[in-house]
Symmetry: C2
Subunit: 341 residues, 2 copies
């Protein structure tokens, strides 16, 4: 089974590159929070000794352009805070080895004010030398699990996720299996970052929250439509589950406390004020989800079914739009700023 789930690569109609507007909205909305975290909590003098290189990592960078905006913003705010210190910035864009780094590198902004570098590998493991990183940033990424919880693949267990592809409307056993996998993954994640980040160094997560959970199930219902029309075997849908868990503040507190090396400086469930996620029209939203999910669908169902499922879900735009409006109030993102003790 694959344990890496790249976004649609390249520069085509359904590529992540051209369809990552909602993720951009998330980053834009968290702009002030990242800024506050840096201005109020970062202490460069403590971290840098003889070197004047400030090292930033982006975990789950995908292929841009969102990651470039996010990284430039971090650089700009640190520069603003330490305008009297000459700092050089080195940014490490990291993602799975299957990520399309060629596209990422070829679209690097020419006017960037940092040295750029790409690091292939899973963030569920070590990626950088000990105490070499000053700031870690991860947007729309930590909700990716390293794998599907294995209990979900047992047809005879109460965690067999019949007719569904995610945990949003599932039974409590399925939800718990997802939570357990998230906790296992985060244990490895935090152990790795605790080694890599210098004392005083910071880590910021921006993670989509509740509304996303259910939206993906529209792809599930398109799959079930195909089952009901006799075009797809139901067991194939039952055995397909998305490897994502969207953590709550409680989940986050639990994994941070278990690790013990980081303090939570800020944490909030934020409701973006401008350009709400909910205000993006349903079509844009579905296409952007497609750029994220299509690889997973192709892997499990083949490209013909994947294509049809995406097309059918797009036809549900109106229904989805209605659903989004009815559930708009619940859409939000989790913002967490941590400091290495």
């Amino acid at each position: 089974m694959t344990t890496s789930f790249p976004m649609n690569d390249g520069n085509s109609a359904y590529s992540y590159f051209n369809n990552s507007q909602p993720q951009k909205e998330l980053i834009d909305a968290s702009k002030d929070m990242v800024r506050d975290a840096i201005i109020e909590k970062l202490d460069v003098e403590v971290m840098l000794s003889s070197s004047h290189t400030f090292r930033i990592i982006e975990l789950g960078c995908s292929i841009g352009p969102n990651t470039f905006h996010a990284m430039q913003r971090v650089v700009d705010v640190v520069k603003e805070k330490y305008h009297n210190i000459i700092l050089e910035f080195q940014v490490f864009f990291s993602d799975h080895v299957e990520n399309d780094f060629n596209t990422l590198f070829r679209s690097l902004p020419i006017d960037r004010s940092y040295y750029a570098s790409g690091v292939p590998g899973s963030f569920h493991g070590r990626l950088f030398p000990t105490r070499s990183i000053h700031f870690a940033h991860s947007s729309c990424a930590i909700h990716w699990l390293s794998k599907i919880p294995k209990e979900l693949l047992d047809e005879k267990s109460p965690t067999w996720n019949k007719g569904l592809i995610h945990y949003g409307t599932s039974n409590i056993d399925v939800v718990n299996a997802y939570i357990a996998q998230f906790e296992k993954d985060m244990e490895i994640f935090f152990n790795a970052r605790a080694e890599e980040i210098v004392p005083g160094g910071m880590m910021v997560f921006i993670s989509p929250f509740s509304s996303y959970i259910r939206l993906v199930e529209f792809f599930g219902s398109s799959l079930m439509d195909l089952v009901n029309e006799g075009k797809l075997d139901e067991s194939l849908v039952d055995s397909f589950n998305l490897p994502m868990y969207f953590p709550s503040p409680q989940d986050m507190t639990k994994v941070v406390e278990k690790n013990g090396c980081f303090s939570i400086e800020f944490m909030e469930l934020a409701y973006p004020k401008s350009k709400l996620v909910d205000e993006i029209d349903a079509k844009t939203f579905i296409i952007s989800l497609r750029a994220v999910l299509e690889g997973l669908l192709i892997n499990h169902f083949g490209s013909k079914i994947a294509e049809e499922v995406c097309a059918r879900t797009l036809l549900k735009s109106e229904e989805i739009s209605t659903w989004m409006k009815a559930n708009g109030g619940k859409s939000c993102q989790l913002f967490v700023a941590l400091k290495r003790k």
Copy 2:
């Protein structure tokens, strides 16, 4: 005009990945020299302060596998020398942004003992933060010029390189234009490395020397065959020149002295003892040159002519083999070890 000349990418029949045996021979032959340079000249205590990360850069990494052998060897020898110090290694694989980093990353050895990173950009310019690098390695790369000397593109000048594609059998004006471009490029190269490498840090170059110079002209003669058969306009050949200059020890001394920040620790023209470059059969050699040159040929002549030129040059294997045997004694490589003052 393009200023980057990537090797044939991917994993196909004529890819650099599958056709880089001669370059591997060069690296293998220089194994002991790199080892000697590290054992005798490197002083880690001077360079590393609080951090225990030893940072290595490979300039002109292409897509492997040669670069992986070279980097692992550097790591192993430094570890051997400093077996009583716990060091962590971070290797930055650098090449032009058009290089196929996806292939490079996907073929990274699983059992490597370093943190890997890719850095897109020309080594004729800054790539890394100030004083952040401990060891720089470059094999079969510094002979690439940033561009064709512009004098060669003037039809009315004595530097118009009629009927030839390189300087090996050209008039002295052409040779001097190449040398001048090399010196200009190396000035920029050394200025950048002088900033990036810590005091006491080392730099090693391995560069093919004389035999290569003339071998590329067999591709030139295939082009002229097409001209003589009326299939190609001669002015197209006249205006095509390879952007490579193979430095002599004198050239190297001159550019190092001009920069002034590095001392030459070792420099020698080495005649590889085992598996001589000359002992590789001509066919293997021509195919490996094709993996290097085909992109340039396609750029200037289109893919149909490029394909035909490569095929025709391969047909000259016997002639080339005879030439290689007659000129075998002259085949050698330049090895240079430098230290940042």
